[in-house]
């Protein structure tokens, strides 16, 4: 049943190639069906699905546990909103393919299969990032992604050659027992690929050109759903399967990436590029927290990830559709933008505040002062540019040729969803425990390789 999350969007994507208008109508229905299937299967988490009835060690296996369930739910909910607010039918088919690949990436327990899904996501991302005639930015992204993906492929083949299987659980277990150094080398290869999608500098140098071109769809899709799915895979590979830290050079690179991205955001004169750099800084913060391999820090990093994705959805949707707007004539949109940007900085009563508060608290408890200081410094820089852009949009006069104040606003559906998202940030800000309980559970499961293995080694298979 869970295989339908991959099969249905993929089949309908190809079936609707001659009927693009139909694809636009089908997309939200398919994503809604995915969510219905997911919630119907919630009581059955902790199962594996052996495709074609091949034993897990030989064939492709899907792994459906609580971590996969929550990540799939978030990704599909964001996808549903994106499919409802996207009016451009050119991207409906790539979005259907991407939806199938994202679900596959989260569900698969096979190294090579995850490479294939990563590549499908990359190809659809290149297509979507050509929005607003941005072929040059998209080509830059293709070169970065193309070179990086080769490292993942080599890593997957290394795992097969040494472990004798492509199954993540079996291969990691065998190599972890026999040759842990090789396991860590493979993780380095995987990390190089994933850091491109996770937008960590210097791997994420493609981001400003792709996100900053004024498209609403590109940054929302890549920043909210693709990044979240990639964080899932990165967490699985670096926390579940490997028991050691990545080499310190990765950690220091990510720390530098946080500060440099925030400085980049501060010095931009274009709001789109500012948000692009801000997005890089946020993802670098999440990656740095994951690299600490401390359960409490990982839990707060996931809290930060989900709230940040929601805030970025609002900011990019507003910027992509209105550019630098005049909020005095678009007050509802303006309020949603300001709420989200305040949440991004970490102002109290918004979800972002708790994201940063819990993260700093966990870091100080773990005596990880370097990352804590970097997060504090980055917050100060963030506060400066968020204030600047809010003042610009609320108080700067932008007049038309007739001397009137510009009167443009989002269409009703988009306005509704950005307002809802901003309100969700406020609700999480008032009741943070709602989300924190879930992220604590996710962090606990992510570190539990024993449980993951047990499901494969016959205790939970079906």
């Amino acid at each position: 049943m869970i295989t339908l999350l991959i099969a249905v969007p993929l089949a309908l994507a190809f079936a609707t190639i001659p009927l693009r208008k139909l694809a636009r109508l089908i997309l939200p229905v398919v994503v809604l069906a995915n969510l219905v299937i997911l919630f119907a299967l919630k009581p059955h988490v902790g199962k594996i699905i052996e495709l074609g009835s091949w034993p897990a060690v030989y064939g492709i296996t899907l792994f459906f546990d609580e971590v996969a369930f929550y990540f799939l739910s978030f990704v599909n909910m964001m996808f549903l909103v994106i499919s409802l607010i996207t009016r451009d039918e050119r991207f409906s088919i790539p979005l259907l393919v991407m939806n199938a690949a994202l679900n596959g990436l989260i569900l698969t327990a096979d190294f090579f299969n995850s490479f294939v899904f990563l590549e499908i996501i990359a190809i659809t991302s290149y297509i979507i990032s050509t929005d607003k005639d941005n072929a040059l930015g998209s080509f830059k992204y293709l070169i970065f992604g193309g070179v990086a993906s080769i490292f993942y492929l080599i890593g997957a083949v290394f795992m097969y050659v040494q472990g004798g299987t492509l199954n993540m659980a079996y291969s990691s277990y065998i190599i972890g027992m026999s040759n842990p150094e090789l396991m860590k080398t493979a993780l380095v290869l995987f990390a190089i690929t994933l850091l491109v999608e996770l937008k960590v500098l210097p791997f994420g140098l493609w981001v400003p050109d792709v996100y900053g071109n004024g498209s609403a769809l590109t940054p929302v899709v890549l920043g909210s759903v693709v990044s979240t799915a990639t964080v899932y895979l990165f967490s699985r590979l670096s926390l579940t399967f490997v028991d050691e830290h990545l080499p310190p050079v990765f950690y220091y690179t990510v720390l530098a990436s946080i500060v440099l991205s925030q400085l980049g955001a501060l010095y931009q004169k274009n709001l789109g590029r500012t948000l692009a750099f801000a997005s890089m800084a946020s993802m670098s913060t999440v990656v740095a927290s994951l690299l600490t391999r401390q359960e409490s820090v990982v839990s707060t990093a996931l809290f930060y990830l989900f709230t940040d994705a929601l805030a970025k959805f609002v900011l990019f949707t507003v910027y992509g559709n209105l550019g630098v707007a005049n909020f005095r004539n678009a007050k509802t949109t303006g309020i949603a933008f300001t709420f989200s940007s305040l949440s991004l900085v970490g102002v109290p009563i918004f979800a972002g505040f708790w994201g940063k508060y819990y993260l700093l608290k966990a870091l100080f408890e773990q005596e990880n002062y370097v990352l804590a200081i970097v997060v504090l410094v980055s917050t100060l820089i963030e506060l400066a540019y968020v204030t600047k852009w809010n003042i610009e949009q609320w108080f700067a006069k932008k007049e038309t040729t007739k001397g009137e104040i510009e009167n443009i606003d989002l269409p009703f559906v988009q306005k509704l969803f950005v307002l809802l998202s901003a309100l969700i940030l406020l609700v999480i800000g008032l009741f943070p425990q709602l989300l924190l309980d879930k992220t604590n559970l996710l962090a606990e499961k992510l570190f539990d390789f024993q449980l993951y293995r047990d499901i494969f080694f016959g205790k939970g298979g079906m």
């Binding site: 590549e119 005639d133 080509f139 070169i143 193309g146 070179v147 080769i150």
Partner: protein, 142 residues
């Protein structure tokens, strides 16, 4: 401690059929870093792809074994490992897709800017930006 990469490299050089993939990947990386023409960068990416595909097939090769084709005259279990070959088939298809999409993007870039040279593209982008600003000011005047 990471797996000793220098030892891995020495091992690779001791096996003659790793020479070609190493050479292709090196040329490809050099091409991407040094070339200022976008089409040459795309070709370099193709070279890296090909090099890695040959490397994967080489990893499954076992000295003295047969091709993995089952027939009456082929002894069972005397095959080279067929799985890397199957993986490479998929990787080739993905590689073709990426290169095809890359070529499409290059056509779009050429249509818009009239060049694929990075230095000229920078100038062309600046020129277009100024042109757009001038056009906007012209509209205000009207």
């Amino acid at each position: 401690m990471l797996y000793d990469l220098s030892e891995m490299f020495r091992e690779a050089l001791s096996v003659p059929y790793y020479y070609l993939p190493l050479f292709l990947v090196s040329v490809g990386i050099y091409g991407i870093v040094s070339q200022r023409n976008l089409f040459k960068q795309l070709v370099s990416l193709g070279l890296i792809d090909t090099g890695v595909n040959i490397l994967i097939i080489s990893l499954g090769y076992i000295q003295g074994m047969e091709a993995p084709i089952y027939s009456a005259v082929t002894p069972i279990a005397k095959f080279v490992d067929p799985l890397p070959q199957a993986l490479v088939l998929t990787a080739i298809v993905i590689g073709v897709g990426v290169l095809g999409l890359g070529a499409t993007l290059l056509i779009k870039i050429h249509e818009r800017y009239g060049t694929l040279e990075l230095d000229e593209l920078k100038f062309s982008k600046e020129h277009q930006r100024w042109q757009e600003i001038m056009d906007d000011e012209g509209d205000v005047g009207v």
